[in-house]
């Protein structure tokens, strides 16, 4: 009855603790092997062949120590020695030893057995250690590779937590520290909200730079262990490690592998944070450089017409009464022209600043390209002499949803540019065409054109072609392209066949533009009402 209870208890215990079950099984197995050898010895070799039986025992013990481990093999050594003494050494059937030779056999076999067991145990421990350190190296190597491959902070954190989870068999989460608080938390699945539950432990870990929370001396009541990520400039974050299931008896403290991983992660996080800071510092320097270059170029361009205005107007003020009438008129005309030029320059500067700062408001309406082109023709005819502009707008071009003022600006800039670089004896052409869902507008000049390697540069800010004769700021095409892109279109330049430059842009056609037929009825109704 007691035995049954013990067995059941043993089974329950075995189920409770895997380790214990395995240990008991091994000990039983080693005893079974020793019993088998004893039976083989009695049946096969007879009572008097103690030497061969001892060898057989030693072989069995060696096998047990290799397969079943140290304790079973020591048990086997003890059992073998007793069995040898009882069954094979005189006096037979007794544990007493007959004389010095028997005592030597007994002691020699027992000592050899223990020695073999100890050796094997040491070997196995070395193998295990080698395997563990290999796993550790592989884990750290994989982590290092993952960390090196990623440039963005969140992705880096995601990969790092995934590696920690695999290596430590736990649930990991990275809390990134910015200044005095945690900015955000990242799990292997992505960015998550910061849990406030254990924030105290996390804060403790990051301020004291030692692990806190579950399994440690500080805040042990927390649900996870918090390992600070300490890099060269201090704590960059905290790694939270939560066991997959809460088990009694397991060690919730982070393994040395996980601690090493945390060190790697800390350095990688710091690297990403630093490179971000460096980048923004670089951008700052770069934009400062561009700003001063722009300022010096612009102030030169703005001063030129001002100088002319100053000279011409002072001529009028100082010598006006002595100048012949045609000369006075000439001075007046020059002042007028230069004032206009100054106005144009300021306008384009204003436009480009608005474009760059994103304050360009596109207010889209249903607009007719024919009207927009018409507006451009009128303005150009009014202010430009000596150049010819022709336009071809097919009658079937539907209305587009665009900002008419801005698209007119685009065309004016393109035409101005074409006039600057074109030939006065050849007309500049505006062509409108439709091609699969987009309207394509081309402004074609037949001037000198530009070198093929310059074509990509014409849209750059403040870019002026080497052959450019008259002074603009080199902003016209930049602004034009910016406006078109704000409309969801694109702009490009190419050589005009036979010489010259063609600048084209496309604007998306909108679905279901208003048409005459669709609204005729509505118009009719309102007409009846108003008549």
């Amino acid at each position: 009855m007691l035995v049954v209870t013990l067995t059941i208890e043993g089974l329950v215990n075995a189920r409770k603790s895997h380790w214990l079950a395995r240990g008991t099984g091994r000990l039983l197995a080693s005893l079974a092997i020793v019993s088998a050898v004893t039976v083989v010895g009695i049946v096969g070799l007879g009572e008097h062949d103690d030497t061969n039986v001892a060898l057989l025992y030693l072989f069995a013990i060696a096998a047990v120590s290799v397969w079943l481990g140290y304790l079973p093999s020591v048990l086997a050594a003890l059992a073998s020695a007793l069995c040898l003494d009882y069954f094979f050494l005189p006096p037979y059937g007794s544990l007493a030893l007959a004389g010095g030779r028997e005592a030597l056999t007994f002691a020699g076999m027992f000592a050899t057995a223990v020695f073999i067991s100890t050796l094997n145990e040491r070997l196995r421990k070395q193998a295990l250690a080698a395997r563990a350190s290999e796993r550790r190296v592989v884990s750290l190597y994989r982590l290092a590779r993952e960390l090196a491959e990623t440039a963005s902070l969140d992705e880096l954190c995601m990969r790092a937590t995934a590696e920690v989870e695999v290596a430590g068999n736990l649930v990991a989460c990275l809390l990134i520290r910015r200044g005095e608080t945690f900015s955000h938390a990242v799990r292997s699945g992505g960015v998550v909200a910061i849990e406030t539950e254990d924030l105290g432990a996390a804060n403790w870990a990051s301020t004291h730079l030692t692990p806190a929370g579950l399994g440690t001396g500080s805040c042990p009541g927390a649900t996870a262990c918090y390992v600070p990520l300490v890099a060269s400039r201090g704590c960059v974050g905290v790694l939270s490690l939560r066991p997959r299931q809460r088990q009694e008896g397991t060690d919730p403290r982070p393994s040395s592998l996980v601690i090493s991983m945390a060190q790697h992660i800390a350095l990688a996080v710091e690297r990403v944070l630093l490179s971000g800071e460096k980048q923004s510092a670089q951008i700052e320097v770069e934009s400062e450089r561009i700003r001063s270059a722009v300022l010096s170029s612009v102030s030169h361009d703005l001063r030129a017409p001002l100088a002319v205005i100053g000279a011409a107007s002072s001529t009028l003020v100082e010598h006006g009464d002595r100048l012949p009438e045609p000369a006075r008129a000439e001075m007046g005309r020059i002042i007028n022209q230069e004032a206009r030029r100054l106005n144009d320059l300021l306008k384009s500067l204003f436009d480009v600043t608005r474009l760059q700062s994103g304050r360009f408001r596109v207010s889209r309406q249903w607009e007719s390209l024919e009207e927009i082109v018409g507006g451009v023709l009128r303005l150009i005819d009014e202010r430009t002499a000596g150049h010819v502009l022709r336009a071809n707008v097919p009658t079937d071009v539907p209305l587009l949803q665009v900002d008419a003022t801005l698209i007119e600006q685009v065309l004016l800039n393109l035409v101005d540019n074409a006039f600057k670089h074109g030939r006065t004896d050849r007309a500049v052409e505006i062509d409108v065409g439709l091609r699969g869902g987009v309207a394509i507008i081309s402004v074609v000049d037949h001037g000198r054109g530009i070198a093929p390697d310059e074509i990509g540069k014409v849209f750059e800010k403040f870019y002026r072609s080497a052959q450019a004769a008259s002074g603009g700021l080199g902003l016209g095409l930049t602004i034009a392209r910016g406006i078109v892109e704000a409309h969801g279109g694109r702009m490009w330049a190419k050589q005009t066949p036979g010489g010259g430059l063609t600048v084209q842009f496309q604007l998306p056609l909108s679905a279901a533009p208003p048409r005459l037929s669709r609204i005729e009825r509505a118009a009719g109704i309102s007409n009846q009402r108003s008549v």
Binding site: Q365, S368, E371, T395, P514, N527
Partner: protein, 231 residues
């Protein structure tokens, strides 16, 4: 003999006022000035100007809000003057009752032309006899609902007629897209500028020789349309 027409300039830049005044006085106008919103209302009340030139960028008050205030005191045409950044304000000013606009910097001939149009439209107000508007070779009879080119009649759909009639009633003045929609379609069609563009397109095809270089039905980008009867 009637006294010379009187123009009120509402503008805060004294130098600009000098330039306007020099030109306008040379043309024979009498010129009064106001450099703030309050002065402007006062001057409108006491001087009863024939044309008001109103700069939208005044220091003490939003020029836009002055338009209805001035309108409540006088029927005189209001020409708003604005800097380029105030595109949106121009439409609002026109819809609020201004008659025309000028964008700085503008030339003196432009200024004089706008003032002349303003003066002329003022003399037309209440003049029921002028229901026939002539432009180029065309004669447009609003009463008889007829448009003819020389002797040949030009057929217009009812909507086209409404549009052209609205523009003709304000000949040479700008009519905003909103105002056109309101007058030609009824207010239910506000904000549907696309309709105006579609009908303008067909109207121009009937009237203009080169629809991309319209002589009569001129589009003022982003603002509205103008029927040009001269020049």
């Amino acid at each position: 003999m009637t006294p010379n027409p009187c123009i009120l300039i509402v503008e805060d830049d004294k130098k600009m006022i000098r330039v306007y005044a020099t030109n306008l006085e040379t043309e024979g106008y009498r010129v009064f000035e106001a450099s703030s919103g309050q002065d402007a209302i006062e001057e409108v009340r006491t001087r009863n100007p024939d044309v008001v030139l109103l700069d939208l960028g005044l220091p003490d008050v939003d020029g836009l809000s002055l338009v209805p205030q001035i309108r409540s005191h006088t029927t005189a045409p209001i020409i708003v003057v604005s800097a380029r950044e105030q595109e949106a304000d121009k439409v609002k000013a026109l819809d609020a009752g201004a008659n025309d606009y000028l964008t700085k910097p503008f030339s003196v001939p432009e200024l004089l032309a706008r003032i002349r149009v303003g003066m002329r439209s003022r003399t037309h107000v209440g003049d029921t006899a002028s229901t026939v508007v002539a432009f180029g070779h065309y004669t447009f009879d609003l009463e008889g609902r007829r448009l003819s080119r020389g002797k040949r009649p030009v057929h217009l759909s009812p909507t086209e007629f409404n549009l052209l009639a609205t523009l003709a009633r304000h000949a040479d003045e700008i009519v905003t897209t909103n105002a056109l929609l309101k007058e030609a379609w009824g207010s239910a069609y506000r904000l549907r500028g696309g309709y105006v563009r579609v009908y303008m397109h067909s109207l121009r095809r009937k009237i203009e020789d080169d629809p991309t270089r319209p002589k009569y039905l001129v589009n003022e980008n982003g603002l509205g349309y103008r029927l040009r009867t001269s020049g």
